[in-house]
Symmetry: C2
Subunit: 257 residues, 2 copies
């Protein structure tokens, strides 16, 4: 179906922000695509059962296949009078069990889930034990060597601040016009055998978090020297950094507006 989004939207009189959470294991990311089930597609189908209108969903970011979200934000415009509280309940009734709507709120008409976003927080989970955890297979990276949290926090601190993160970006067909991002926090913590990296920034390049994790694990293994992180940043080349850690350990954790 082709339609003019501007025309479609100009007629609507309410703008709704939804906060959702999803287990990304069986989805090919947020974005609708051919021959693969996406969160957006499943969401759009459920929404059609609740609001009988052509609706354009705007997600706060693209996410890769297998990536999870403790919080993901969507906005859409509608003429429906449905109260926000009822919208949450109705959507949760139609959505599959691995997607949940946490809240719905009316926002100003110019609010846009992606363009209004001023920052995001991701977490990355690592199961750090010689034996795998059967419950965390789709929810963490299994890494069996020792990890020195203090060392990684020292190296991670070098990434905090405004830097050109070209070395931590997968080169694809997207044009990289501006690779400068401001990382405000980066912290490793440990709870039992689960190590979590938390990173907060004003924005993220493609695969940035996963490449940072992959690089950090090279540091943990002694294959990258702690202070080499500065040269990796300066190199502005994907080849300088470590591998891209798997998607299944990654969670979009918070979105800031």
């Amino acid at each position: 179906m082709q339609y003019n989004v501007l025309d479609l939207e100009s007629e609507k009189n309410r703008n709704i922000l939804l906060k959702i959470s999803y287990d990304g294991s069986r989805y090919h990311g947020w974005q609708i695509q051919k021959n693969a089930v996406s969160v957006q597609e499943v969401f759009q189908n459920s929404l059609r059962n609740v609001i009988d209108e052509d609706i354009e969903l705007k997600g706060c970011s693209r996410t890769d296949s297998g990536v999870h979200a403790n919080m993901y934000c969507i906005n859409f415009k509608t003429n429906s009078f449905i109260p926000c509280e009822r919208l949450v309940m109705a959507l949760n009734r139609f959505l599959p069990a691995d997607i949940a709507v946490l809240s719905a709120d009316e926002v100003p008409m110019d609010f846009h889930a992606r363009y209004s976003c001023i920052g995001k927080e991701y977490i990355y989970k690592i199961w750090n034990n010689k034996v795998r955890n059967p419950f965390l297979n789709n929810y963490s990276l299994h890494y069996w060597y020792d990890i020195d949290i203090d060392l990684l926090n020292y190296v991670g601190s070098k990434l905090i601040g405004e830097h050109n993160f070209t070395s931590f970006c997968t080169v694809d067909n997207r044009v990289l016009t501006d690779a400068v991002r401001n990382v405000s926090e980066l912290k490793f913590s440990k709870q039992g055998d689960v190590i979590t990296m938390m990173i907060r920034a004003d924005g993220f390049l493609y695969n940035m978090v996963r490449i940072i994790v992959g690089t950090m694990l090279r540091v943990a293994q002694g294959k990258i020297k702690p202070d080499d992180i500065l040269y990796i940043i300066e190199a502005k080349s994907r080849k300088a950094a470590g591998p891209t850690a798997p998607a299944k350990g990654l969670y979009l954790n918070r979105v800031f507006y």
Copy 2:
């Protein structure tokens, strides 16, 4: 295949105790059965790749479809010389990702995973929030009303000690010769929105933990009065207790020998 277990076993000279963990979501319990995938069947097939012998696996208990195990114990007799440490690694290579061998140890020849067991500990997880948790769908019961932990700990304390637990046992074709069990601990705790009931006893009747949970949630809802728990015990009738809580929240947590 039919063979005489006694004959088969009398030739073996080592007895191995395995501690395993599994996500029970896609299994119809431990016990091998027709037309359904069981943990035992999958385990036996993996073991065949490591030890080329007819082997009889003894599990510490039957578990229902969908029930999980943080620790489940198995023993088997073998003539293989494989060191225990290598057995762990080899089995983990062949087992699917939702089953893991935690340890292997040589035990006396008369050790039996089921008959040598002197106690077990189960936990039951409840997701206590109005909105479901997409990550805990197969791993907890979703319960949206308020739960007063202190009240449930008070009522639970009445179940501690030696009691006839007939009221907390599903009647099936198994003969119930002795329904007296000794519960040594029963405790509810809360971490964020996850409420966990932990129960330890010298043994459990069929569905005992799930019926206790179902009864406790009736207490939480005010549909069973706190002190009525004494009458429910005395009734020695399944009808006196609450419903059987779903399997997916239940985990065998520890096995004592």
